[in-house]
């Protein structure tokens, strides 16, 4: 038993560093995957794949700041692959609030739900660009690096996506 534990320790170096990275980035990776895929179950699968790849790749990055973009790039690529394989769907989560004066909150939640549905109709790359830049607040340069395209392309994708979202939300006006 001791030998097995020793072998495990040898074959999996930097386990503490790996755990730290997972704890630091798991929520954001999950959120990005959810926004792109529209389903928490799919987002969990993608996040697992992302961290399994990180485990295989190892935690030796030239700079600590390079880990985040690397993780988001892997996550977005996996999401795009997955959304190409099956049509994007959005979970219709039931909005229930126990708060007594929840009318405004309910309206806000409903708008978010509709926004998620509208996001699901966008092409995968446009959706990823909007999620990364507008929702996650990542800079255009970083989004371009993550998506493997130019900054101009990202700007164009984001503006096109926002125009489409606005049209769609206005047609369903709440």
């Amino acid at each position: 038993m001791q030998t097995a534990a020793l072998i495990l320790a040898i074959t999996v170096p930097g386990e503490a560093a790996f755990d730290q990275i997972v704890r630091r980035h798991e929520a954001q990776v999950l959120r990005i995957a959810y926004r792109v895929l529209g389903s928490w179950a799919d987002a969990e699968d993608v996040a697992q794949d992302v961290f399994v790849r990180l485990h295989r790749h190892g935690t030796d990055f030239p700079q600590d700041a390079a880990i985040g973009p690397w993780l988001y790039r892997v996550a977005v690529n996996l999401c795009i692959d997955r959304s190409r394989r099956k049509r994007p769907t959005s979970e219709l989560r039931e909005v229930v609030s126990s708060h007594p004066s929840a009318e405004k909150e309910l309206l806000h939640s409903e708008r978010k739900r509709l926004l998620m549905l509208a996001l699901a109709t966008l092409p995968a790359k446009e959706r990823a660009a909007v999620v990364l830049r507008e929702i996650e607040g990542i800079s255009t340069a970083e989004v371009a690096a993550i998506l493997g395209s130019s900054e101009a392309t990202v700007r164009s994708q984001v503006s096109k996506a926002i125009a489409r979202l606005r049209t769609q939300l206005n047609s369903e006006s709440i």
């Binding site: 997972v22 798991e26 697992q48 926004l115 929702i135 926002i162 606005r166």
Partner: protein, 136 residues
């Protein structure tokens, strides 16, 4: 909804919390997948070691211990036969020897010359024989 409202809504989504059950499920799945890999590696390592050991045993010549163990017990009734002489078949038929007689070369003999001097000094009889069988 105008652009500003839309962008505010998008920005608002940034702070949406991840459902705790999703985080728990993701962590559990990740833990399972990562801990499974080293076990698989260990199993592969053990199998390869076993394969090498079996290969080494197969390559090794059988030892005396194995032969004694495999041999049936010795009995006095056992009759020993002289080993049969192995029949040796020549792989290719032998061709009969062809005896050829060579023509003998004629022996070379030294020429025989008999010089007979007569009373006349200017007359000399010279007898020359080139073969010894001939009689002159």
């Amino acid at each position: 909804m105008n652009d500003e409202e839309l962008q505010n809504l998008l920005r608002d989504m940034r702070d949406d919390p991840v459902p705790p059950d999703s985080l728990v499920r993701m962590r559990a799945g990740l833990e399972h997948r990562i801990s499974r890999r080293p076990h698989w590696k260990i199993a592969a390592w053990l199998v390869s070691c076993a394969a090498v050991a079996v290969l080494a045993l197969l390559i090794q010549r059988p030892t005396a211990v194995h032969r004694i163990a495999d041999r049936p017990a010795f009995t006095h009734e056992r009759q020993f036969r002289p080993p049969e002489t192995p029949r040796v078949d020549s792989p290719t038929p032998v061709r009969q020897a062809i005896h050829r007689t060579r023509r003998r070369k004629p022996a070379e003999y030294p020429q025989l010359a008999i010089r007979i001097e007569t009373p006349d000094p200017e007359v000399v009889i010279l007898l020359i024989a080139d073969q010894p069988e001939r009689n002159f």
